[in-house]
Amino acid sequence: MTTAPAVYAARGTIEIRSENLCRHYRMGETLIRAVDGVSLEVPAGEFVALLGSSGSGKSSVLNLIAGLDRPTSGSVIVQDRDLAKLSREELAKYRLHVVGMVFQSFNLIPSMTLAENVELPLRFAEVDRSQRQNLSREALERVGLRARMNHRPSELSGGEQQRAALARALINRPHLLLADEPTGNLDSHTGTEIMEMVREFNRELGMTVVMVTHERALAERYAQRMIFLADGKLIDDRQNNDRPNSPAAVDVRAHGGQS
């Protein structure tokens, strides 16, 4: 058994499509346009960085793609699912099976061990206990934390916690990895370590990655494409062809996408 996604969207098909996506909300008297008419397309298997200063709306876009939030207007369609039209229940299923998320603050549950944290999504998916344990062990193995599976998050370094969070994001074999400033709380060395892992998931497992960051250097080094946001609007969208080991060289499909 592998932790690789069971089904791949064929490379080149559109994984995420947003049209005139808006997320407005009121704060007292003022209307805040967190996301204001963003239209974009992300092909399956692409590694995209969402860049912008704080308040630019990049996290809001990510939350909309993650199905954590609903657009005020416009649409966001992931694998032919119009997220705005899904019920709360369906959205939860979508988050469970299609999306894996990592956050700046890791967001592990402090009262649970790493293994329990990693297998938590499997509980929501009603996977049997024995299978759950196998999968979580495998996922932790993959991020090099097998030995620490019975530790609580507070006993681990930031880098280790983020690796555990990555393992958790992988456990349900999602197509989509959404990362919100994944290295924001890490020193540059561990940050690099995490980014290498994300790139590995992108290349070897064929996951579509959308990463929010304000570090342009990080995006330039790892992302295939950089999308710049300011004041909720898309201001630039460009391919990043001058990064090291450009993905053009690596054809994931040819390697079978196995682990």
């Binding site: 954590l68 939030d69 469970l96 099976h97 549950i109 009262s111 929501f124």
Partner: protein, 467 residues
């Protein structure tokens, strides 16, 4: 989420803030304990009264009297009944008719008279009644000293405890400890009493008028008789602790004779004078007849049938029906007071869970972000509430039971000091145990409704932003 996972996560969460959740659970326990204590007191008292009533041996007995025998109870149906002149005579024919009614095991005349008993040359005036052999199984004679009558004609008597005290001059002052029955029995059993009574004798043929030739047979003739003073020696065969006639009130006897013996004595009965003009020749007339029913459940039917025959009836059923009503009300009251504490405890659950939501806001956000549905979050909080309810219920039942035992123990120590036999005022039947735990579970689920709904509705984006 699966039930097993829910339970596991819920218990884990409860352990995480163990103090607060323990306190809440103790709150529920106290609530359940008070409910259990109250209801088991109700059940215990009801069982105590039922036992007492059953011991009276009259659950299966219907007392029948002639309608003209107004007993001064002023019961509605008696007043509505036919006027005394129209009522039927309670004679031997009527008795046999009752005995033939379905579900009746026997109908025996109630022979009851006040007379004088001499013991060691001291006279004692008392009410005497006759018992059939079937009274042997009456619970009132359980644990009696001595024995029941060996035959229906034995020249023996059974004394009620209070009369035995009187004979020995040991009647305790009111409120003082009563003497032990075994001590009473020792000097009395096997001793002889002399009963002086008024015997009814048929008037001799020569004294009767010529047109009533047949009224001479056995002295029971209603037509005319004379009264003769007689004496009868009786041996004390038994002393009973309990009162077999508790339902008769002031009419109850303290000394008992075998039925056939009493009949053969032809003691002058109070009704004799009254019935003298009506009784048919050769037929004894009774002031009342006791009808024993085969099964307590059939008492009502037999009572109705006898009423139709034109007699007045009384059974303990009438008394126990109203008693049951009283207990229903008592039960409701005890239940309400018991539930009050549980209501307070349920507010504690709401409070604890609302606090837990605030504390675990971020955790809820995380769970939602990684795929928990509203339903999962809701169920998790429900499971926590339910687990506290079940735990509190179990501890509470144990606590309530313990409180009951302690109070029962205390009361019995007091009773012992008063020389009253110990009683169980407390009964925790299985249904109460099951009911209490389920009730605690349901109450806690209801308490979990609001917190669970609130947790489920949390916006994950905001919840994740929360530190």
């Amino acid at each position: 989420m699966k039930i097993s996972d829910l339970t596991e996560l819920a218990l884990r969460n409860l352990r995480e803030s163990v103090l607060r959740n323990s306190l809440t659970t103790i709150g529920i326990s106290v609530g359940v304990a008070s409910l259990v204590a109250m209801l088991s007191l109700g059940t215990g008292l009801q069982q105590l009264f039922s036992r007492r009533l059953a011991k009276s041996g009259l659950f299966d007995t219907v007392l029948v009297s002639s309608r003209r025998e107004l007993r001064g109870m002023g019961r509605e149906e008696e007043r509505k009944g036919p006027t005394p002149g129209e009522s039927r005579l309670l004679d031997e024919t009527a008795r046999q008719e009752m005995e033939r009614l379905p579900n009746v095991s026997e109908a025996f005349p109630d022979i009851r008279f006040v007379t004088e008993l001499r013991y060691e040359d001291k006279p004692h005036l008392t009410m005497i009644s006759a018992l059939p052999q079937s009274a042997r199984s009456n619970d009132a004679f359980d644990g009696m000293q001595g024995r029941f009558f060996s035959s229906d004609t034995e020249a023996g008597v059974i004394l009620q405890k209070s009369f035995a005290e009187e004979l020995l001059g040991k009647t305790p002052p009111l409120g003082a400890a009563e003497p032990n029955i075994a001590e009473l029995a020792k000097p009395l059993l096997g001793k002889e009493l002399t009963m002086r009574y008024a015997q009814r004798q048929a008037a001799s043929v020569s004294q009767s008028s010529a047109n009533e030739p047949a009224s001479t047979d056995n002295g029971n003739s209603g037509a005319a008789y004379s009264v003769v003073s007689r004496e009868q020696k009786l041996r004390i065969v038994g002393i009973s602790d309990l009162d077999p006639e508790s339902m008769r009130g002031p009419m109850r006897a303290k000394v008992f004779l075998p039925l056939r013996l009493a009949e053969s004595l032809h003691v002058m009965q109070p009704t004799d004078l009254r019935e003298i003009s009506r009784a048919s020749p050769g037929q004894p007339v009774y002031s009342s007849v006791s009808v024993r029913v085969k099964n307590p459940a059939q008492v009502q039917g037999v009572e109705d049938a006898i009423k139709k025959m034109g007699f007045t009836t009384f059974s303990i059923l009438d008394a126990s029906n109203s008693l049951r009503q009283v207990f229903k009300v008592l039960y409701a009251f005890l239940g309400i007071f018991g539930s009050l504490a549980l209501t307070v405890a349920s507010i504690g659950i709401v409070n604890t869970l609302v606090m837990a939501i605030l504390e675990r806001r971020r955790e809820i956000g995380i769970m939602k972000a990684i795929g928990a549905s509203d339903g999962d979050v809701k169920k998790l909080f429900f499971a926590e509430a339910g687990a506290m309810g079940i735990l509190g219920g179990i501890v509470g039942v144990a606590l309530g039971w313990a409180i009951g035992q302690v109070i029962n123990f205390g009361i019995n120590i007091y009773l012992k000091s008063q020389s009253v036999p110990p009683e169980h005022f407390w009964a925790v039947p299985l249904w109460l145990v099951v009911f209490s735990i389920i009730f605690a579970f349901l109450v806690s689920l209801v308490s979990g409704l609001y917190p669970a709904a609130r947790a489920a509705k949390l916006d994950p984006v905001q919840a994740l932003r929360y530190e």
